[in-house]
Structure formats: C-alpha cells, structure tokens
C-alpha cells in the first residue's frame, strides 16, 4: 500500500481544492435526507404506545447524541495524526470539528431535557446518559477554551491535541463510572426509558436522520477546515493562485 494518497491528501492546497469540490456533494444530500427523515419521523411513524407522540423527539435527540460522541472520537484521531506525523491539516480538522461537536452535545442535552419533561415531570434528571453527555460538553468547552486562550497557533493545535487524547482516554472511564453511580443511587427501578420498542416504520426515519447528520457534519467540517487551512497557510505560495482563481 503506498502512502502517496495519504501525503497527497495531507497537502493543504490539494485538500483545500478537494474540500471545495465535495462540499456541495455532502450538503445537498444531507438537506434532502433531513427533510425525508423529518417527514418520516413526524408524519409517517405511528406514536409510541407508551410515550405517545413525545417519543418523536428521538429523531433529533439520538442522532445528535451519537454525533457528539462520534465527533469527539474523530477529533481525537485527527489530534493523534497531527501530533505523531506533525500534519498541520489534521490539527485543522480537529480545530474545525470541536465547535460542531459542542453544538451537537448542547442540542442533545436540550432535546433530552425536553423529552424528559413529560416523562419524568422535571426538566433535568441526573440520568446516566444525560450526566455523561453533560460532562462531554465540559470536555468540549475545555478544548475550545484551551485553543482560544493560546495565541501561537502551532502551540494551540498541539496543546489541544494532547488534551483531546487525554480526554478520549478518560471518556469511557467517565461513561462507566457515571452509569455505575446512577444505577447505584437510583436502584433498579428506572422506568423503561431506554430505546422504545421500535417497529420498522419507526426505525427507518431514525436511520435516515443518522446518515443525514453525518453528511451534514461532513459538509460543515469541510467548510470550516478550509477556513482553518487558510488561517494556517499564512504565506504559502499556492495561496495566491488558489484565491485569485
């Protein structure tokens, strides 16, 4: 397996042009799938026998929750690549992904709280998943704050990369200790709040939304990475030819 494709991809000018080309190919399908997913989730899917129509919030809550974890993992991988092989582009990807991840985590928390209100009668319940999602938000904010408070871009990239790696190692520990802590205090009488029993016509919109959010993230990431690349390639020669084309 020769590594030329990897080096070609890692070279900023090549990636900048490539990102520009594929952004629309990610954006429009994402938009289309979101419309389909929402229609399927809100209109076609029957109400849940237990939670009625409130369960429809799952169509935005679950994909966001998944994205918040996925983006953190991807960011840690990009950080590792950036640190080990000193590829500036990988740091640009990590820098671009962090705010989007934080947004998804925030949405997960709010939609979770909105979903919990009718079920539990309170806006916030120290439920295991919501608590670990909240801690994940702190991790994201820590990353963004660290990167923002360091002026020198090179140091900001590498410092955030180390923090992302330390965070990703701690993520499973936080996850399981919160679960253990939750089952311990609440005992085993938690309401069956887990995934409601899903029939196929409830399921397919959820899968569509999962794919749609991934494509959406791809599009936003490409845009942000292009911006980050421009910030980092301060006086690269290819810049003039690219920007004045």
């Amino acid at each position: 397996m020769n590594w030329t494709w990897f080096h070609k991809l890692a070279s900023p000018p090549h990636f900048y042009r490539l990102a520009g080309r594929i952004t629309p190919w990610l954006g429009w399908p994402a938009f289309l799938l979101i419309v389909i997913g929402l229609y399927g989730g809100l209109v076609l899917a029957p109400p849940d026998y237990q939670q009625g129509d409130a369960f429809r919030i799952v169509y935005v809550h679950a994909p966001s929750a998944w994205m918040s974890m996925f983006i953190y993992g991807m960011m840690a991988i990009a950080a590792a690549i950036g640190l080990i092989w000193r590829i500036k582009l990988a740091h640009a990807v990590a820098a671009a992904a962090a705010p989007v991840g934080a947004w998804f985590t925030f949405v997960t928390l709010v939609t979770g709280s909105l979903w919990g209100r009718p079920m539990w009668g309170t806006w916030w319940q120290w439920d295991a998943r919501m608590t670990s999602e909240l801690i994940l938000l702190f991790l994201y904010l820590g990353l963004i704050a660290l990167r923002a408070s360091i002026d020198d871009r090179e140091r900001a990239d590498r410092a955030s990369a180390v923090l992302a790696l330390v965070g990703v190692v701690n993520l499973p520990i936080i996850h399981y200790s919160v679960y253990w802590w939750n089952t311990l205090h609440q005992g085993s009488t938690i309401t069956k709040f887990g995934k409601p029993s899903i029939t196929f016509d409830m399921l397919w919109p959820l899968l569509v939304m999962f794919v749609a959010f991934k494509l959406f993230f791809g599009m936003v990431l490409m845009l942000r990475v292009r911006g980050e690349v421009l910030r980092r390639e301060r006086d690269a020669s290819w810049l003039r030819e690219e920007l004045t084309r």
């Binding site: 640190l83 801690i135 702190f138 991790l139 904010l141 820590g142 704050a145 660290l146 408070s149 360091i150 090179e154 140091r155 590498r158 410092a159 180390v162 923090l163 790696l165 330390v166 965070g167 190692v169 701690n170 520990i173 936080i174 200790s177 919160v178 253990w180 802590w181 311990l184």
Partner: protein, 227 residues
C-alpha cells in the same frame, strides 16, 4: 564523569522541590486552610446537627479536598517556567516523563498529603465516626494522587497563559469526576458502617492508570508549552 542515573535524578528533583515548597510554606498552607474553611462553611450553611452532617460528610469532604488540591496545582510548573529552570530540565538528558513523575510526586507530597493528614480533624467536625477515618484518608490519598497526576497535564498545557487558573479547573475537573464518584461513595459507605472495598479498589485502579499514563502526556505538554 558518569551521567546521573534516572533514579538519582528523580530523587534530586523530589528533594529539591520539597525544599523549595517548605521554604515557601505559605503555598503549602493555602490548600489546607481552604479545605478547613470550606468544611466549616457547611455546618453554617446547613445545620449544626451532627446526625444530618454525617449524611453528607463524605461528599463535602471530597468536593472540598478536590477543589483544595486544584488550588495547589497552580504552583506546579509555573515557577519553573517563569525562571527558566524548565528549559534546563528539558535539556538535562534525562527522560522527561520520569522527571515529570518526580515533580508530580513532589507536588503531591507538598499539596495532596497535607490535605489527607488534616482531613480526619475536619471529618470529626462533620460527625464522621472514628472507624471511617481510615477509609477517608485512603480514599483522599488516592484521590489527591489522581488529581495531582491528571492536574499536572492541565498545568503543563496552560503554562504561561493569561487566565490559566480558570482554564486549569475547566480542563481538570471533568477528568477527576470518576474519582469523585468512587471516593465520595467509599467514604459514605464507611460512615454507614459498610465495607468500602469495592469503590476503594476502583479508585486505586484509577490512581494506577493516571499515575502511569499522565507523565507521558505531561512530557509532551511541557515540550509544546515551552516551544
């Protein structure tokens, strides 16, 4: 002239840092005074009733100890960065991760250990029964150890930054939450007379994990921060 062995170098750093810490003893006193103050706030805020205080003593002591240890993290690499000795450590020809381990150990002895030693006094003030004090001290020893090693990564990353201390707590506290969960739980069980082996063992596991992994992260962070 033979190059100093790594163990000698680590011992030298450990002793050196402790000497410096004791010459600036007010830095050592700060976390301990903070812990004492916070635990006196609790009865004032809640109730003088020892029975009631006993219920929350585990959590209060642990949260106060965690914040006090966080306060102690300020002094970890800041003075070395400021006076240039950090550069000499990087260029000492000794493995940086082990030097970081020695510094973390010295920092724990100067800031974590005093908290552990003073905690029984404050625990009695919160109505903690005598037989729970051993579990309290063990759990706090492991907890402050975890915070020192994880905190060292945060301290190294935020070296020389403007409002580094606020950032430091934002970076380190989420990582210390699992330790808080098991530590407070262990003390709570001990207070109620149950055997607290389970949480203590998990806390010990976390301590070993953070002790082995974090020096490497600290070494990387130090190189990045001083560049």
């Amino acid at each position: 002239m033979m190059q100093t062995s790594i163990t000698q170098a680590m011992a030298l750093i450990y002793r050196g840092d402790l000497i410096l810490a004791f010459r600036r003893w007010e830095q050592i006193a700060q976390p301990v005074v903070f812990l004492a103050m916070v635990t006196t706030l609790v009865p004032l805020a809640l109730s003088p009733e020892l029975g009631e205080l006993r219920e929350i003593a585990g959590g209060v002591l642990w949260i106060a100890a965690l914040l006090a240890a966080l306060l102690g993290l300020e002094f970890l690499y800041r003075s070395d960065h400021a006076d240039g000795t950090l550069e000499q450590m990087l260029l000492s020809g000794q493995p940086l991760a082990l030097i970081a381990l020695a510094k973390t150990a010295a920092h724990w002895t100067a800031s974590g250990l005093p908290l552990v030693l003073v905690s029984p006094l404050l625990a009695v003030g919160l109505g903690v029964p005598a037989d729970a004090l051993v579990v309290l001290m063990t759990s706090l020893a492991l907890g402050t150890g975890i915070l020192s090693s994880l905190g060292a990564v945060g301290a190294a990353l935020t070296l020389g930054l403007r409002r580094g201390s606020v950032l430091l707590s934002l970076l380190v506290l989420p990582l210390a939450m699992p330790a808080l969960i098991f530590g407070a739980r262990a003390v709570d069980m001990a207070i109620h007379g149950e055997v607290a082996r389970g949480p203590l063992l998990l806390l010990g596991a976390m301590f070993v994990l953070s002790l082995t992994l974090s020096p490497m992260a600290v070494a990387a962070a130090l190189r990045i921060s001083q560049e």
